[in-house]
C-alpha cells in the first residue's frame, strides 16, 4: 500500500480559492447590513446565490453564456434607473457594489477577476466602516483582511505554479526534506546562535521608537470625527428607528417594544443618582392636530432662531446650591434615535465634543442638533439636577399675550403659545371632553396638580395598559376622544395624549413629552443603558406659577418592559452576557470620545513629568540608602538585632549555596556556563560568522586562534578585531 500523501494539486488550490472568494464576498455583503440602505433584500438574494455557488461550484457552468454576457449591461441599466429614482447618491452606488460583487462572486474567476472581487469587497467594507464607525466594522474588516490576504496568497501561488508547471512527484512527497529534520529545541538553539543580536536590538529599538511615537501622536493630536471629514454622509439619509420625530403618531408599538437595541448609554459616577426610573426628556409636542401631537411651528421657529454653532451651553441662572449630582453625566446617543438630545433634568452646562450647530429652547428646555447625527452623538451634562418641574416663568405672560391676539395675528406671531391650550376641533369632541372633565372635577375648581392627580386616577380606572389598541369606530370624532370615551386599553401615547386633551379642555395648559423612561444599570462597566423599548410618552401640565409639572398618566409600574421584569427587579444591575457585550461598545466610546483638549494636554504633561520625575526619584532614593544604612548601623545593638542580622546572613548564604549547588547539579540553564561568557571568544566567533572564509588568511587564522585557540597563544585581541572591522569595511563581509 502506498503510504505517501497525495500531492496537493493545482485543482485543490483552485477550489480553496473559490471558497475564499465566496467568503470574502459574503463578508463584504455582511457589512452592508449595518448600513441603513434599502438593500437588505438584495443582500439576502446575493448571499443566497453566493452560498449556493459555494456549496455547488458546478452551478455557474449551468448558466448560459448569454446571461453572463448580458449581466453587465443589465447592471449598468439598473444603476442608471436607480440613480434616477433614488433621492441619494450613495445607496445606488452601494447597490451597484452589491450587484458587482455578486456578479464576480458567482462566476468562475482567474487572477484578474479575483483582484476585482477584492477591490469591490473593499469598497463595500470601507463605505460601511466610514458610515457606521462601529466595532462590528473593525471585526469584519479583520475578517475581510485575513480572507483577502489568503486569497491573494493562493492567487499568487496558483500563478506561480501555472507558470512553472512544476509539481511535486510522489517520490518527492514521501521524501522528508532536510528542513523538517531535527527537533524544535535544536532549531531554536541554532536560531539563538545565528541571530545577530545587534541587529535584533537595533530593530527592536526602532520598533519601540515607532510605538512610542505613535502613542505620542495618538495622545497629542486632537481627536476628530472621522465621518465629519468624509463627504459620504451627505449622500445618504437615515431612517428613524424610534420615531422620535417631531410628530407623535398613534401606531402600533409592538415592534418598538421588541426593539432591544440600546438607544442611549449614560456614564454617571454612581447608579444611585440616576434613580430607579428616570425620565429622559427628548422632545415636547405642544400642538394638537387631527394627525396627532406635533412640535408646534412656534417651537420649531424658536429652535431654528436659537441655532448657533457652539460646543457648550451654560445655564447662567443655574443655582449651584441646588446641585444634586456630583460629577458630570456623559451621554452616548445612538444614531437613528432623534435629533433631540435626552435631558434628564436641570443642568448647569451642556458640552459637546466639538462645536456643532445646536438648537435650544430655553422655555421648553429642549436641546437639538440641526440634523440627526450620522454616528453616535456624545455630550456631557455638568451638575445635573433631576427634577419633575420645568421652570418657565414667562409662560403666563406669553399665554396672555397670545390669547389677546386675533387668529390672523396669531398666525403671523412668532410666539404663540396658545397651542398649549388647543384641543381637537369640533363640538362633538369638545362635548365628550367636557363630560369627562365634569366627571373628574365634579364641578370644583382645582389646582393643576390636584386636577392632574384626579385625571390620572380617572384614566387608570377606565383604561388598562396594552401594547395594541383597537380603536372604536366613530364618525367625525377625534381618534383620541374616541379612545377616551371607550374603555379600551392603550399604551403610553394614548394615556399621555388623553391627559393633555382633557387638561386643555379644562383650560389647563398641557403638552405631551416624548422620551425614554427607565433603563437598566450595566453592572459590568457601570453605566446606564436605555433601550429603544424604553421609549415612553408622558405629559406636562402648567402649574400656573411659572413651572411645568411632569405627569405620567400611564399605569406606571405595570408598564410592560422589554426585559419583562417588574420595575423594582429591573433596578438590579444587569450582568448578563448581553450587558458584557454592550460594555465593549462603551469602552470603545469612552476611548474615542473626548470633550476637552485640556485632558489631552494634562495627559501629555503627566507623561512628561512622569519621565522626568522618575529619574530624579530614583536618584534620590539611591542617595538615601547610604544614610539609612549608617542610621541602621548606629542604632544601639542588642541581642534581637544581632539575631536578626545573623538570620539575614544565614539566609543569604543559604541562597547562594543553593544556587551554587543547583549549578553544580546542572539544574540551571546551560547559558550559565562560562564558555558562553568569554567575551573575546564570543566576539571572535561573531567575526568568524561575518567575514568570508579564507583559511590561509592571517586574519581568519588569528580570529580562529582567538575563538578556539589556547589563551596563552592569543594575539592581541583588539588589534585583530580592528583588522576585522577594516576587512569588513573593505567588503569582505559575507
Amino acid at each position: 500500500m502506498d503510504k505517501s500523501l497525495p500531492p496537493l494539486e493545482l485543482n485543490d488550490l483552485r477550489r480553496w480559492k473559490w471558497l475564499l472568494g465566496g467568503l470574502l464576498a459574503l463578508i463584504s455583503l455582511g457589512t452592508v447590513i449595518f448600513l441603513e440602505v434599502e438593500a437588505r433584500g438584495l443582500v439576502g438574494i446575493a448571499a443566497g446565490l453566493i452560498i449556493a455557488t459555494l456549496v455547488w461550484p458546478v452551478l455557474p457552468s449551468r448558466v448560459p453564456a448569454l446571461i453572463w454576457r448580458g449581466a453587465v449591461p443589465v447592471i449598468i441599466l439598473v444603476l442608471i434607473a436607480d440613480l434616477y429614482f433614488s433621492p441619494d447618491t450613495l445607496p445606488p452606488l452601494i447597490r451597484l457594489g452589491i450587484l458587482l460583487v455578486l456578479y464576480r462572486a458567482v462566476g468562475y474567476r482567474r487572477k484578474r477577476e479575483d483582484l476585482q472581487l477584492i477591490v469591490l469587497g473593499l469598497f463595500l467594507v470601507v463605505v460601511a466602516g466610514v458610515l457606521t464607525v462601529a466595532l462590528e466594522f473593525a471585526f469584519l474588516l479583520l475578517l475581510f483582511t485575513s480572507c483577502a490576504l489568503g486569497l491573494l496568497f493562493v492567487v499568487a501561488l496558483i500563478d506561480l505554479t501555472e507558470n512553472t508547471q512544476k509539481a511535486l512527484t510522489y517520490a518527492e512527497m514521501s521524501c522528508c526534506p532536510a528542513w523538517a529534520l531535527g527537533s524544535w529545541p535544536q532549531y531554536f538553539y541554532r536560531l539563538r546562535k545565528i541571530i545577530d543580536w545587534r541587529w535584533l536590538g537595533f530593530a527592536g529599538g526602532l520598533f519601540f521608537c515607532v510605538v512610542i511615537f505613535s502613542a505620542a501622536l495618538f495622545i497629542v493630536i486632537p481627536r476628530f470625527e472621522i465621518t465629519a471629514s468624509f463627504f459620504l454622509d451627505q449622500y445618504i439619509t437615515r431612517q428613524n428607528h424610534t420615531g422620535f420625530t417631531e410628530v407623535l403618531k398613534f401606531g402600533e408599538v409592538g415592534a418598538l417594544i421588541q426593539d432591544d437595541r440600546v438607544a442611549l448609554r449614560v456614564d454617571v459616577m454612581d447608579p444611585a443618582v440616576v434613580g430607579v426610573a428616570p425620565y429622559w426628556r427628548l422632545v415636547a409636542l405642544d400642538e394638537y392636530t387631527a394627525d396627532g401631537f406635533k412640535v408646534s411651528a412656534e417651537l420649531k421657529q424658536e429652535l431654528i432662531r436659537s441655532q448657533v454653532v457652539t460646543q457648550q451651553i451654560t445655564d447662567q441662572k443655574f443655582e449651584s446650591s441646588r446641585v444634586m449630582t456630583e460629577g458630570s453625566w456623559t451621554f452616548y446617543l445612538e444614531p437613528g434615535v432623534s435629533r433631540f438630545l435626552p435631558i434628564p433634568g436641570r443642568y448647569r452646562q451642556l458640552r459637546l465634543r466639538e462645536p456643532m450647530p445646536l438648537q435650544s429652547s430655553r422655555s421648553y428646555r429642549l436641546v437639538a442638533l440641526r440634523t440627526e447625527a450620522m454616528t453616535m452623538t456624545a455630550f456631557q451634562l455638568a451638575e445635573v439636577e433631576l427634577t419633575d418641574k420645568i421652570a418657565d416663568p414667562g409662560f403666563s405672560q406669553r399665554l396672555r399675550a397670545s390669547e389677546a391676539l386675533s387668529i390672523k395675528q396669531r398666525e403671523q406671531s412668532r410666539a404663540d403659545v396658545s397651542t398649549n391650550l388647543r384641543g381637537p376641533l369640533g363640538s362633538v369632541n369638545a362635548a365628550v371632553l367636557t363630560r369627562i372633565n365634569t366627571e373628574i372635577t365634579a364641578g370644583a375648581v382645582l389646582s393643576p396638580a390636584e386636577y392632574a392627580q384626579r385625571t390620572i386616577a380617572w384614566l387608570q380606572a377606565h383604561h388598562a395598559y396594552a401594547l395594541s389598541v383597537k380603536l372604536p369606530v366613530g364618525d367625525g370624532q377625534d381618534a383620541i376622544v374616541r379612545w377616551l370615551a371607550s374603555r379600551e386599553p392603550g399604551f403610553c401615547e394614548y394615556f399621555a395624549a388623553s391627559f393633555v386633551l382633557l387638561a386643555r379642555a379644562a383650560n389647563y395648559p398641557a403638552r405631551v413629552v416624548a422620551g425614554f423612561h427607565g433603563g437598566i444599570w450595566n453592572g459590568v462597566e457601570n453605566y446606564y443603558m436605555v433601550r429603544n423599548s424604553d421609549a415612553h410618552a408622558w405629559a406636562e401640565i402648567y402649574d400656573g406659577a411659572g413651572s411645568w409639572l411632569r405627569m405620567d398618566p400611564t399605569p406606571g409600574l405595570l408598564r410592560v418592559s422589554s426585559s419583562a421584569m417588574p420595575a423594582d427587579f429591573r433596578s438590579l444591575p444587569d450582568r448578563s452576557w448581553r450587558a458584557r457585550l454592550d460594555s465593549v461598545r462603551v469602552l470603545w466610546y469612552r476611548r474615542i470620545v473626548n470633550f476637552d483638549t485640556r485632558a489631552q494636554v494634562a495627559m501629555v504633561e503627566q507623561v512628561k513629568s512622569f519621565t522626568t520625575d522618575l529619574g530624579s526619584v530614583w536618584l534620590g532614593e539611591l542617595a538615601k540608602y547610604p544614610q539609612r544604612l549608617r542610621a541602621w548601623w548606629n542604632r544601639p545593638w542588642d541581642l534581637a538585632r544581632v539575631r536578626e542580622l545573623s538570620v539575614w546572613i544565614v539566609g543569604i548564604t543559604a541562597l547562594f549555596g543553593l544556587l551554587l549547588g543547583l549549578r553544580r547539579w546542572g539544574h540551571l540553564p546551560s547559558g550559565w556556563r562560562s564558555v558562553d561568557y568569554d567575551p573575546v571568544r564570543r566576539t571572535a566567533g561573531r567575526w568568524l560568522t561575518q567575514l568570508t572564509m579564507d583559511p590561509d588568511d592571517q586574519l581568519i587564522a588569528d580570529l580562529r586562534r582567538l575563538r578556539y585557540g589556547p589563551r596563552e597563544t592569543w594575539p592581541v585581541a583588539n588589534v585583530v578585531f580592528r583588522r576585522a572591522r577594516n576587512a569588513r569595511r573593505r567588503g569582505r563581509a559575507r
Binding site: 532536510a178 535544536q186 538553539y189 541554532r190 556556563r673 566567533g685 580562529r704
Partner: protein, 323 residues
C-alpha cells in the same frame, strides 16, 4: 613545561607530514582525502580499517603508508583456517636452553597489515583485540610488547559475504577509523593504467620519516588544545547519536575519545595547535560510522554504511556548531 604544543613543534609536524603525504601520493593517485585520513589515524596512534571492493588500492595504501615510515612492517593474509598463534606468535620448547621460548608472530611489527580481516574466524580476529588495545601480547601469562609505534591497518571487502565472519562490534570499536577507498577519478585511473607496475613488491617507496619522528608526532597530538565549547559540541554530537532513533546504539565513550584524538591529529596535520569545529565535523563520519549499528539492519553492507553516513550527516547539520 607547558602542556601545549609550541609553534615550532607544530610547524615541524606539518612539514614532516607534508613530506609523508607527498611520498604517499607518488603511489596512491588521486586519493588525497583517504591519504589524509590515514595519516590522521597514524598520528592519533589509531588503527585503520579500509573497507571497499577488491582491487581499488586498499592494500596499496597500507603498503605505501608502511613503507613511507622507517618502521617494521608485516602482512597477515587472513583466511578461515588462520589460527591465533599464527598472528601473535607461539611459545615453543627450546631444547638447547630447556625452556619455552616465545616466537613472536607477524603482529610484532610497527605496522601490521591485516588483509581481508573478515575472512578469519572470530577466534583469530579476537586475538588482535588485546594487541590493538594495549600494544601488548600475552602468551602463557607473559606479556610481550609489540613495540612503538603500533598500527593495525585492516582491509575488508564489504560485498562478498561468502565464507566471512563479520567483525564483532567490540573489535570494530577498536579501529579509530573506517575508510572507504572508492574508485579513482578517470584521470587518475589513466595514470595508473599507464604505469606498467604490477604487484606490491614493485612499489618503490622510500621511507621519509623515521620511527622516532613518528613517536614524537604522536606525542604532540595530545598537546593540541581543544576549547571547552568544542568539547561540549563533541559531547552533544555523541549524545545525539545515542538518542537518534535510526541507531540501535549510540557511540561509546571510547568513540568520543577517538573523535577527540582524531580531531586533535587533524588540527596538527593542518599546522594548528588548536581544534576547529570543522575538524570534528570532518572526522565524525570516518570515526563514528563503524561504531554505530542501524536499528533496521540491511543485508547490504554498503547500503548500511550509506544510511549510517546520511544519518550522521543529518545530525551534524542539525546540531548547531559553536561560533
Amino acid at each position: 613545561m607547558s602542556n601545549l604544543a609550541t609553534a615550532a613543534e607544530v610547524a615541524w609536524t606539518r612539514d614532516t607530514v607534508e613530506r609523508l603525504r607527498a611520498n604517499m601520493r607518488l603511489t596512491i593517485k588521486g586519493k588525497d582525502e583517504v591519504i589524509e585520513q590515514a595519516l590522521i589515524c597514524m598520528l592519533a596512534s589509531g588503527h585503520l580499517l579500509i573497507e571497499d571492493l577488491p582491487g581499488v588500492g586498499k592494500t596499496t595504501l597500507a603498503y605505501a603508508l608502511a613503507r613511507s615510515l622507517d618502521c617494521t612492517f608485516s602482512r597477515i593474509q587472513f583466511t578461515s583456517d588462520l589460527l591465533p598463534t599464527d598472528v601473535i606468535g607461539v611459545s615453543i620448547y627450546d631444547d638447547t636452553v630447556k625452556e619455552f621460548i616465545f616466537k613472536p608472530g607477524p603482529v610484532f611489527a610497527n605496522i601490521v597489515l591485516a588483509d581481508e580481516i573478515n575472512r578469519a574466524t572470530p577466534k583469530t580476529q579476537s586475538a588482535l583485540l588485546e594487541v590493538m588495545d594495549r600494544s601488548k601480547v600475552t602468551v602463557d601469562g607473559e606479556a610481550h610488547s609489540v613495540g612503538q609505534p603500533f598500527m593495525v591497518v585492516a582491509t575488508q571487502n564489504p560485498v562478498d559475504y561468502e565464507g566471512t565472519f563479520p567483525l564483532p562490534e567490540s573489535q570494530m570499536d577498536r579501529f579509530l577509523m573506517r575508510l572507504p577507498m572508492g574508485y579513482p577519478q578517470p584521470n587518475d585511473e589513466l595514470t595508473i593504467l599507464r604505469s606498467a607496475r604490477l604487484g606490491y613488491d614493485a612499489i618503490a617507496v622510500n621511507p621519509v620519516v623515521t620511527r622516532a619522528e613518528v613517536l614524537q608526532m604522536q606525542a604532540l597530538v595530545g598537546k593540541v588544545f581543544i576549547e571547552d565549547s568544542l568539547l561540549d559540541y563533541l559531547l552533544r554530537l555523541i549524545t545525539a547519536t545515542r538518542t537518534e532513533v535510526e541507531f540501535k546504539a549510540g557511540v561509546s565513550v571510547r568513540g568520543g575519545l577517538a573523535l577527540r584524538v582524531a580531531a586533535q591529529a587533524r588540527a596538527l596535520l593542518h599546522g594548528r595547535d588548536f581544534v576547529l569545529p570543522e575538524d570534528i565535523q570532518f572526522l565524525a563520519g570516518p570515526v563514528l560510522a563503524h561504531r554505530l549499528s542501524l536499528a533496521r539492519s540491511t543485508s547490504d553492507a554498503r547500503e548500511e554504511s550509506r544510511t549510517m553516513l546520511a544519518a550522521l550527516h543529518r545530525i551534524i547539520v542539525s546540531l548547531p556548531a559553536p561560533t
